[in-house]
């Protein structure tokens, strides 16, 4: 007969089994989950000022596509991604730089000279010259880059994963 406050043999075994079981599960489970998730959790902040050449080279009134590539290391390999931006000059002093990535599902838009809009080929989203949505499914205007001009050269502030 065991006293009410004392742990009897049966309960002691239960406690030990639960404790050891939990410890083993944690020892095996945490490394397993960490192993699978770790590349996903490694956030690479990609940030740089990208030079796009002298601002005066860009025509006024017509959006001009500029391409550049960024190299990042993913796993054991270098991944080269190419990006496109539209430099839009409305006059001598005012300009903006827009991403060519459609805000709907990330297809790339192209400037249509005849219709004066950017058209996304995937779901027929239309954007005005300043990036505002004029037609179709895109939920937001084209992303605008932060810019600066140093010694006549146009730079955009490129950020990804931030």
């Amino acid at each position: 007969m065991s006293e009410p406050n004392k742990l009897d043999r049966r309960d002691f075994v239960k406690v030990v089994v639960v404790f050891v079981g939990t410890t083993i599960t944690a020892c095996v489970g945490i490394p397993a989950i960490g192993y699978l998730l770790s590349p996903a959790l490694a956030v690479q902040k990609k940030e740089a000022w990208i030079p796009l050449g002298p601002l005066e080279n860009y025509p006024i009134g017509t959006p001009t596509l500029v391409s550049f590539t960024r190299t990042t290391i993913n796993g054991w390999e270098k991944t080269v991604n190419s990006y496109g931006v539209y430099v839009v000059r409305s006059d001598e002093t005012n300009y903006k730089v827009l991403s060519n990535m459609c805000t709907h599902l990330s297809c790339r838009v192209t400037w249509n000279e005849d219709r004066d809009i950017y058209i996304c080929p995937c779901h027929d989203g239309h954007f005005a010259i300043d990036g505002q949505v004029v037609y179709g499914p895109p939920p937001a205007p084209l992303k605008e880059f932060e810019t600066k001009v140093e010694e006549g050269v146009l730079y955009i502030h490129f950020m990804e994963g931030a």
């Binding site: 945490i30 490394p31 397993a32 960490g34 192993y35 699978l36 998730l37 770790s38 590349p39 490694a42 796993g75 054991w76 390999e77």
Partner: protein, 219 residues
Amino acid sequence: MAAKVFTWLDERLGLTTIYFTVLDRKVPKVNWWFTLGSASLFLFVMQVVTGIFLTVYYVPSPDHAYDSIQYIMNNVAFGWLIRGIHHWGATLMVIFVFIHMLRTFYFAAYKYPREITWLTGVILLLATLGMGFTGYLLPWNQRAYWATTVGTEIPGTAPFIGDFIIRILRGGSDLSAVTLARFFSVHIWFLPAIILLLIGIHLYLIIRLGISSVPKKED
């Protein structure tokens, strides 16, 4: 509630019967040498689990094999642990399976009616060595490359068919990307499938026939 669920399942799946036939078998009084089979099985399960995890990042191509393993070791959380267990587990498994074979031999446990258990065990031992041999190439480092060069050259010394055997093992006359790919395939598909099938037969026979007792002086 839990008891009700269990009874419901037990009635349909026969869980109690499985428990009594598989785990609650009558066994003779034996010693620690008789645990090596279970130890080998445990190690095999460990190898399967860690091996599956390694395939998440490992790429069996000369361009990527070495780098992907460096990535596992240095950049993936606990990658060193998973690969370490796979590495040491492999060595331990060869040792345990081999001593298990010796125990069976010296205790004469291979005799009637357990001949088929023995035969499947022999193939299991060979398959385990095959796993070691094919797995050794996968890191694609100098040691792996030259070990496999030598290892495939040895059967090549066989008269008449030697060259043919080398070409089959390597998938051509040289150690190449083809060799790496086929070693990988054999390592993760062919041999594990064979081992699983044979372990099934091996265990079925152990449960069906029971284990042999330690031989006595008069045996």
